[in-house]
């Protein structure tokens, strides 16, 4: 008798779950359970069952894994990272088991050796009958999809401030994401991308000659996930800012030039690597400053150690260049009144400076 397909879930991570879903279903031949979007409930579930002083993404991820299990997942996959993230999987597994859930847990940090043999072992842990050729084909397509998601998201936030019909513009972006989440083939991915690219470019826009430009840097999860950062990017575009964010999966994982290559470009500020994304973020912040951005916003979650280290470097870049930096820390709170106050004040400050400096 043939065994039923596994129901595999990976917690929500910005808008990257479409690529992960594609990879799981097309490459690993398992059923992907897409956990619900992050909401206050996710946060409450996560915070209730997490250690108090763990970094905030842990709570969000754990809450979303609980929601995935509720939705019927029988296998959870967790990634590894260069910081405490490496221990997330083990801790999550224990907490969820203690809560009484039964599931298989594939912690990719168990296989994190960089060897091909171990990569195959990880894949076999998800599906013992995996066909490597098929997997790598799907991987290439999922990577393509991820690059498209980052490209379209970048376009969207760069121009959203200036379009005449924001509602229609938001709709284009939403439809694009829906198409990616529903894609069944290379053709679907390409079609969804080209349609969105054309529609975004064709939206009527009143772009001022010299708009305020703000660059966003920060922690790998919170800076990219709009629920976790209370829609910072959208709020900025509502104020009329052209928003750029270098930190994406495409830039950090797929096309990353390597710490050493970035290190030489920031050697005036950093003499050795501080690990995780600090080199990348310091480089990105300096790059924004050199390209004449009006301000930089640094985003991190509470208790994030690597990004706390990066702040000292950013402080020096800010005081040398006289470009204002705003530091935002996000925790489990979901009220955005304080954030709105800070963003408005930052915007006013940049706008007044621009008037005087010109």
């Amino acid at each position: 008798m043939e065994q039923a397909r596994k129901k595999v879930a990976f917690p929500r991570y910005a808008e990257y779950n479409c690529g992960l879903r594609y990879l799981m279903e097309k490459g690993l031949d398992v059923q992907c359970i897409l956990p619900p979007k992050l909401t206050k409930r996710t946060m409450e579930l996560g915070a209730q069952n997490s250690p108090d002083f763990v970094c905030t993404p842990f709570k969000t991820l754990l809450g979303n894994q609980i929601e995935a299990l509720e939705a019927g997942a029988d296998t959870l996959v967790m990634t590894y990272g260069l910081c405490k993230l490496g221990y997330f999987g083990e801790l999550e597994k224990r907490i969820l088991r203690d809560m009484g859930y039964q599931f298989d847990f594939v912690d990719l940090s168990d296989y994190n050796t960089g060897k091909k043999k171990d990569m195959l072992r990880a894949l076999r842990a998800i599906n013992p009958k995996v066909k490597p050729a098929r997997f790598f084909l799907a991987l290439a397509e999922a990577v393509r999809m991820t690059e498209y998601v980052d490209e379209i998201t970048g376009d969207y936030y760069r121009n959203r401030a200036f379009v005449r019909d924001k509602k229609a513009y938001d709709g284009i972006y939403r439809h694009f994401l829906t198409a990616m989440y529903a894609a069944e083939s290379r053709h679907d991915i390409e079609e969804g991308y080209h349609k969105a690219k054309l529609e975004l470019a064709g939206a009527p826009m009143d772009r001022p000659e010299n708009p305020l430009r703000v660059g966003i840097v920060g922690e790998f999860y919170t800076a990219m996930d709009e629920f976790s950062n209370l829609e910072v990017e959208k709020k900025l575009t509502d104020l009329g800012v052209e928003v750029h964010r270098w930190m994406t999966v495409t830039n950090r994982m797929l096309r990353y030039p390597g710490d050493n290559n970035l290190q030489v470009q920031i050697k005036d500020y950093v003499s050795y690597s501080m690990g995780c994304n600090t080199t990348a973020n310091s480089w990105a912040a300096l790059d924004y400053v050199k390209r004449g951005f009006d301000g930089v916003i640094h985003i991190k979650s509470a208790n994030c150690t690597p990004e706390t280290d990066a702040m000292t470097v950013l402080n020096n870049i800010s005081s040398d260049s006289q470009v204002p930096f705003l530091y935002l820390t996000f925790d489990v709170q979901t009220s955005d009144v304080g954030l709105q106050t800070r963003l408005e004040a930052f915007y006013d400050m940049l706008a007044m400076r621009k008037k005087v400096l010109r």
Binding site: T39, K40, S319, P324, D348, M349
Partner: protein, 318 residues
């Protein structure tokens, strides 16, 4: 008729209002406690302002609101400008002190620092998670010591040997303070210690990593406390200016912003006698359960906010 501009700053603890003429002259000003009810406080404030203001000579053509209840009160009074308190303070202060470099501000629940260069703000910080070193801390400690908040300054200045009090956190500061009381230190020495702790906390948290350059202007409710001013001067090694209207600077700033804005709408004092109330609704269309704030004038819904997506938007009857 001459033009006048109204600025209202509704903070967590106090509500401030000013009416400015076209040359930044103050026609009327008031400072009252919010007492947990911003709508009532503003009604009372408007009553007081109206009484002290020559309505036959001036008309108010622009209204600005700032402070943590700016949006609610802005809807209520029909404001032409709704601005955050950081911008309002920066604008107000740089208008009266064009060469200011550092603005220190300590209010009831929050504190901020604004660094100014060439007359424009170029950096700011605001306290995030902690209320240590704000007016609320000072007034609760004054109550514990059995004195009025207004008397703190005089007590602090008469101290000969200020005690040292842990400044990192209100909880520790408070237990440290209780300990010092119980070991029999003089009241004025303890109060001076509290003032020093407020300053140390401010400089270690909000002012961390900021280059504080002179001239320094200090404002917000706590700037009326001479003990804290003295502690700042000692810690910063430079004179600290406190404007006589420093506690009104947010309201003044937003009145100036209302004057600078193109929008004009005549202000009507009759809102004093109109019923406004707020209801909290839970959206319930998804598990995020956005809290939606609905503002009513009488029985009529005039505005709502708080929803994160279209599904939660409540349409007002046009």
């Amino acid at each position: 008729m001459e033009k006048a501009f109204l600025g209202i700053d509704i903070g967590s603890i106090s509500t401030k209002g000013v009416i400015l003429d076209e040359n930044n002259g103050i026609l009327a000003s008031e400072y009252i406690w919010t007492e947990g009810d911003p709508i009532q406080a503003v009604k009372k404030l408007l009553g007081l302002l109206e009484a002290g203001f020559d309505k036959s000579r001036y008309t108010i053509v622009g209204t600005g609101t700032t402070g943590s209840a700016r949006k609610l009160i802005g809807t209520m009074v029909g404001a032409t400008v709704v601005k955050n308190e950081i911008t309002a303070h920066a604008v107000g202060t740089t208008t009266f002190y064009p060469d200011v470099r550092t603005i220190l501000e300590i209010g009831g629940q929050d504190s901020k620092i604004i660094l100014v260069e060439n007359g424009v703000a170029n950096d700011y910080a605001m306290n995030t998670l902690c209320a240590a070193g704000t007016g609320a801390f000072l007034s609760s400690q004054a109550k514990r010591l059995g004195i009025e908040v207004e008397e703190i300054g005089d007590y602090a200045l008469s101290a000969k040997h200020p005690v040292s009090i842990a400044a990192r956190c209100t909880v520790f500061a408070e237990s440290d303070l209780v300990h010092k009381i119980q070991t029999g230190h003089a009241k004025e020495d303890i109060i001076a210690g509290v003032c020093n702790a407020v300053v140390a906390n401010y400089l270690n948290n909000v002012g961390k990593g900021k280059r504080i350059a002179s001239p320094v202007v200090f404002q917000g409710g706590v700037s009326k406390n001479k003990g804290v001013v003295a502690a700042f001067e000692k810690a910063l090694h430079c004179p600290v200016t406190v404007d006589a209207n420093g506690h009104l600077m947010g309201a003044i700033g937003v009145a100036i912003l209302a004057r600078g804005s193109k929008e004009r709408r005549e202000f009507d004092f009759s809102v004093e006698n109109t019923d406004f109330h707020v209801r909290d609704a839970s959206c319930g269309r998804c598990s995020n359960n956005c809290e939606i704030i609905c503002v009513y004038r009488g029985d009529e819904l005039i505005d709502s906010w708080g929803n994160r997506c279209e599904r939660g938007s409540i349409r007002t009857k046009a």
